[in-house]
Amino acid sequence: MVTISIDKKNYHAEPGEYVLKVARREGIEIPALCYHEGLAPFGACRLCIVEVIAGGRKGITTSCTLAAVEGLAVMTATDEVMKLRRGLLELYLAQAPDAPYIRQLAAQYGITRSRFAREREKGAPEEKCVLCGLCVRVCNEAIGAGVINFIGRGPETKVNAPYNEPSSACIGCTACANVCPTEVITITDHKGIRSVTTWSNTQVTLKTCRLCGKTMEPEPLVQEIHRKVVALSEEFKDVCPKCRQRYRTGKLHHTDFVTHQ
């Protein structure tokens, strides 16, 4: 256990624990776009910056990558930090003007318009992606499917499947849509196919329950779960969770699960 100071108050932290995590735990507000507790820190959005005043390299740094050591002292809302944060939000407003979360976050810091916002043509595609990389990192680090990544460099960077072609590696888990802070990723299920429109219309076949005939999770996702999370016995493999539930509550008898093939 080490003691660190945030905004002149002391808190306990595990040695090496990231300051942003400590702050979130203690209810101290530090905004962030690219941070997720389950993923390695990325340091890209820069919103979580704080000022180190003691116990480490002095100056402005991202709290998501700042490891707690005994005696570390940071300030989360100095004039400089706030000025930089507001500047960043102006940049985000220009980059993702159609994202409600960005508008809300910016408004929280008093930014309602951006000096860099361009006049957009009618019917222009909605701009919401802030390149926080959460979708890329969750797919590569947490899920391990590696469907998408950053393509290109600098301001031309985009996220997509390789060569902007539909991916055959996608397991349809929807983790990417789940972690996206700005609702960029569109996934629709229709007639037995899960379409991830945003990733070049990647399509994943949905599994059908052999008992009730309704579609359930995507086939590759189910296989992945069985492989990595919990191995279900044979008779439950092709049965949807609802039907499994009905067995548990006795509405179905185990003989219903015998395969009729």
Partner: protein, 1049 residues
């Protein structure tokens, strides 16, 4: 090449050394061609082939080899020749055509004088005990140390480059190579090696300047057995190629440094990360690595020390950001080159999570010399905080470009003027850009600053990797900032928002400003963005990318304001802001291609009307303008400038003579506005302001203390340069517009400025600079000492001037030339005395030449010490002889007094050392003046601090030229009308005249047709015009020479 002998003991090292020495001194002539990238680009490969063929054909017993680059890139291809017993001679600008005469000279033990650069009798290869003696002789050939480019350098890193064959390890060993490695591995512990590097005070040469020993200690102390060292050879700054030469010309030096470093740190594997765009460096390094391995300096149990180490090479793939260490590591690991947050730092957790030490090529290259000579020796070079030397690439608008290695503490002045030879084409240097896209621009006023880490940082720039880009008066600093931001924006990895988005928006703002669409608020936004990107970016690329913008805003804000407020780019780089380079350089922005084309089309009257749109005094300026347009004319690059000034004189003269045609050109006036303007001074500035304001429909009154209009045109410039009749004719055109002239009225005496303010809506002070600066020497009050300006004025007034038989004129400007030439015509023997060199004289080159042609000698480098007086009259003058001293920050040599004096007999001394403004009365009425008496004004509106009062011309700028004064008058008129009437009405003053925009593909018209001039010995007896008009056929030919740079599509 190179022996495959494993060097386990020093005796094997000696064997290789001897083998190498036999190659450097083969006992017969050795011809070595400089074969690095710059030499090959200049044609060294062709020279090499020609040499091969000719040597074979003649069956000469001569050794032909290749060496690297000695750094004097402007003089490539370089070839050095070593004949046994004689000095090594370096030849420059060699071509295949030089091969035969060179070989002729070589076989007769002679020097090929035509292309010789310098000789080297002995050379210190720095690592202990390695001085090579070539031989003495040929005293007429300049020594290496006498060549200005080399004389202030100190070669330590570049000690071998250009002298040894980079593809032969024996030659490297012959000049002391690997003796340091041997010393380190056999007599020193790793900690002792680090101590030596610490004692040396070596700082990283890649840009950040972090203390190297400290970095090594961190890596050494980090827990873990597997450690890596990396050489950052991703040299990406545009214009920087020091590392390239270090690798192409002396690759073993880098390898030796890395092996010693790995030993000190405890690393087993080294990686050279080299940019793919350096194919020759890659090839040479791969070859060197193979040779070093074959010698046993890489691999297992090196020199029997138990230390094992090897080096691999990884190529980059075209990303500047991979020069940043975390992105570099990501690239080696197989990921895209995107930066990672630090901490953790690479010394703790780097390549594949292991402790890693990354250093720049040049940092590693310093190691062998530090180990060989010791840290104490090294620390004696340089300054307190910046030890050792730095290789700089001196490029851009510099006369002598190349690689210069200087000890820290050398001033920018020495680098730019002594080593670099000043601006290319004699142009004035504006600034240097150091540190590449991460650095900043340092204006020439700061060139006294030493080159070291702290000094450059305190000026707002950084040392960077050593690139020094020189920019001159033709470089636009806004465009330069835009260029660098464009670079960093496209090289940004894109991971973090401030760099990716911030640089994108900064580029947008800068582009707008360069296109004339910027506004003043943009500067504040640019500054805010710069701070945001600097402070919030993830890695060094973003953190330093705004530096060029920040420094140009700090030192060159006026250029930004010019682009925004006046929509002008003085340097002539931003194409949207000017019609053509000539028009841009013209102080009154005459549309030069326009009038040239109209004359070409035979439309004389329209050409004249077209001239009058921008220039109310075309016949006058056609005679006396200093023609800055001609120095920017693109035709200069073909066969000489177009005679612009002479043509508009031709057009105006032809019209002024033809009264009938002249009457048809009736100047248009807009409706009367009821506004009243008073102009003080009927000189060029005042006349031009009056002209435009009258055309705008305002009521204009011009006051002048003299009986006639013209100012310097009438009372300064002599008749033989500008006939008074011409001035009168052109003034009458202005009078016809309804301008009221009130002569013999001195404002400040006969009428006050306050009164003018009461009676008018605006007052324009354009009284010029008519008082001569005093000489401030003994005897200046004697009879016979005259002021240049007064002398000319009295003469032009028709007064009798007390001129003796022997006159000296002191000064080097146009007033001095005019005074001298008038005195000569009045029968006196005249000598001009100037305290600097002729090339420093501010007078127009033509004036100087014409004065000399008229029999007036010019004595340079003499300064007046005392005027000798007898009975109150001048009888002589004593002069101190000056010598050109050190350079000042502007690149001019400061004249320094010597002990020697000269005394001349004379009875008249005319002082023309500079004019000042008679502005006391202006200051007394509450208008703010500068310390030198000129009036302070807003540079765009020409407004003074007193509402309603404006000023322009020499009274604001100090003594300048006729056209610059006219430019101010025109600017004042246009801006005032905008203010009074609420809109820019300038274009409504004139009828639009169109002409053809067909442009010939090839340059037409042949070489320049010069203005015919009366011979000097004839014209010096008369006051008739010196230059005669063009013949109409000649004028017609001359106008076809215009390349029509204004036609852009």
């Amino acid at each position: 090449m190179g022996s495959a002998v494993k060097h386990q003991t020093v005796s094997y090292l000696t064997t290789s050394k001897n083998q190498g020495l036999k190659k450097i001194f083969p006992g017969k002539p050795r011809i070595a061609v400089g074969f690095a990238s710059c030499g090959i680009a200049a044609g060294a490969d062709k020279v090499m082939r020609a040499l091969e063929q000719e040597i074979k054909r003649r069956r000469l017993d001569v050794m032909l080899t290749k060496v690297g680059c000695i750094g004097y890139c402007t003089r490539e291809p370089l070839v050095n020749v070593s004949i046994p017993g004689l000095p090594l001679v370096i030849y420059q600008h060699m071509t295949p055509e030089d091969v035969v005469p060179l070989l002729d000279a070589v076989i007769s033990n002679k020097v090929y004088t035509y292309k010789v650069l310098c000789r080297i009798e002995q050379w210190d290869h720095i690592t202990k005990g390695n001085v090579l003696h070539y031989g003495s002789g040929w005293p007429d050939v300049p020594r290496y140390a006498e060549v200005p480019f080399f004389s202030k350098q100190q070669k330590i890193i570049l000690r071998n480059t250009g002298l040894i064959n980079p593809e032969d390890i024996d030659e490297y060993i012959a000049v002391g190579g690997f003796s340091a490695l041997h010393k380190a591995l056999t007599t020193m512990t790793p900690e002792q090696v680090i101590d030596e590097v610490a004692a040396a005070g070596l700082r990283g040469r890649g840009g950040a300047g972090f203390p190297t020993a400290q970095k090594w200690r961190l890596a050494r102390k980090a827990p873990g057995d597997t450690k890596y060292i990396i050489c950052n050879a991703d040299e990406g700054d545009p214009g920087a190629y020091m590392n390239r030469n270090e690798m192409e010309s002396d690759p073993c030096m880098l390898l030796e440094g890395m092996i010693i470093g790995a030993y000190a740190i405890g690393a087993q594997q080294g990686i050279i990360y080299i940019r793919e765009e350096y194919p020759l460096a890659i090839k040479r390094l791969q070859h060197a690595i193979a040779q070093v391995r074959a010698c046993g300096f890489l691999g297992r149990n090196i020199l029997g020390s138990g230390f094992s180490f090897d080096i691999a090479m990884v190529k980059g793939a075209g990303a500047f950001v991979c020069g940043e260490e975390t992105a570099l590591i990501a690239s080696i690991e197989g990921f895209a080159g995107r930066s990672r947050p630090r901490p953790p730092f690479p010394a703790e957790k780097g390549l594949w999570g292991k402790p890693t030490n990354i250093n720049n090529v040049e940092t590693w290259c310093n190691i062998p010399v530090i180990v060989s000579r010791g840290g104490a020796w090294f620390s004696r070079i340089g300054t307190e905080n910046s030890k050792g030397t730095k290789v700089l690439s001196l490029v851009g608008k510099i006369s002598q470009a190349g690689l210069a290695e200087i000890p820290f503490g050398t001033t920018l002045k020495t680098l730019v003027y002594d080593i670099g030879g000043g601006g290319a084409d004699g142009k004035r240097i504006k600034a240097v850009q150091t540190g590449g896209p991460s650095g900043g621009c340092i204006p020439s006023a700061y060139f006294d600053s030493p080159i070291d880490y702290e000094s450059l940082t305190s000026l707002g720039s950084i040392m960077g990797s050593g690139g020094v880009v020189v920019v001159d008066e033709d470089t636009c600093m806004v465009d330069t900032a835009r260029y660098f931001v464009d670079f960093t924006k496209s090289e940004s990895c894109g991971k973090c928002t401030p760099c990716r988005e911030g640089l994108k928006h900064m580029l947008g703002l800068l582009t707008n400003i360069c296109n004339g669409n910027g506004n003043m608020e943009d500067l504040g936004v640019l500054e805010d963005l710069a701070q945001l990107v600097k402070k919030a970016s993830l890695c060094g690329l973003g953190q330093s990318a705004p530096n060029p913008v920040v420094t140009t805003l700090k030192y060159f804000r006026h250029e930004y304001e010019n682009h925004i407020k006046a929509r002008r780019c003085h340097a002539g780089a931003c194409a949207q802001l000017f019609v053509a380079p000539c028009e841009n350089a013209c102080p009154i922005h005459m549309n030069i291609p326009g009038y040239l084309t109209l004359l070409k089309e035979g439309r004389l009257a329209e050409a004249y009307a077209f001239l009058l749109q921008d220039n109310p005094l075309p016949a006058t300026t056609g005679r006396v303008c200093h023609h800055p347009c001609q120095s920017r004319c693109r035709r200069c690059e073909v066969d000489g400038t177009v005679s612009t000034r002479e043509i508009h004189r031709f057009i105006a003269d032809a019209m002024l003579e033809n009264k009938k045609e002249l009457r048809r050109v009736s100047p248009k006036r807009l409706k009367p506005t009821g506004k009243k303007i008073a102009i003080v001074g009927a000189g060029p500035a005042g006349l031009t302001a009056a002209y435009y304001l009258a055309k705008f429909g305002h009521h204009v009154t011009v006051y002048d203390a003299y009986p006639r209009a013209g100012g310097m045109l009438t009372y300064g410039i002599p008749e033989f340069r500008l006939p008074k009749k011409i001035v009168e004719q052109e003034v009458s055109i202005i009078q016809k517009l309804g301008v009221r002239f009130i002569f013999n009225t001195k404002i400040g005496k006969d009428k006050s400025i306050a009164a003018l303010r009461r009676e008018n809506d605006a007052v324009f002070l354009a009284i010029g600079a008519h008082r001569e600066s005093p000489l401030r020497i003994q005897g200046e009050d004697a009879d016979g000492v005259l002021s240049g300006v007064e002398f000319l004025r009295d003469f032009n007034f028709g007064k009798q001037v007390a001129l003796g038989a022997q006159t000296v004129v002191i000064g080097g400007g146009n007033v001095a030339m005019d005074a001298a030439r008038v005195a000569k015509r009045l029968g006196s023997e005249v000598t001009i005395l100037y305290r600097r060199e002729k090339s420093d004289m501010p007078a127009d080159e033509e004036e100087i030449t014409q004065a000399e042609e008229e029999g007036i000698p010019i004595m340079t480098l003499v300064a007046p010490q005392r005027i000798l007086v007898s009975n109150g009259r001048v009888k002589g003058i004593t002069l101190v002889c000056m010598r050109p001293g050190d350079y000042d920050t502007a690149g001019r040599r400061v004249p320094t007094a010597t002990e020697q004096t000269i005394t001349l007999e004379c009875d008249t001394v005319i002082a023309a050392i500079g004019q000042v403004c008679d502005s006391d009365f202006i200051g007394r009425s509450g208008i703010a003046l500068h310390r030198n008496g000129t009036v302070q004004v807003d540079p765009f509106t020409l407004a003074t601090n007193v509402p309603g009062v404006y000023a322009g011309g020499d009274v604001v700028t100090g003594p300048l030229t006729v056209s610059e004064a006219m430019g101010q008058g025109k600017q004042f008129a246009r801006e005032l009308d905008k203010r009074l009437m609420g809109e820019d009405r300038f274009s409504s003053l004139f009828k639009k005249i169109t002409y053809s925009n067909d442009v010939a593909v090839e340059p037409q018209g042949g070489p320049r047709n010069l203005m015919p001039t009366v011979a000097g010995d004839i014209r010096r007896h008369t006051f008739d015009e010196v230059t005669l008009r063009y013949d109409p056929a000649v004028a017609q030919r001359e106008v076809t020479r215009c390349l029509r740079c204004d036609v852009k599509e």
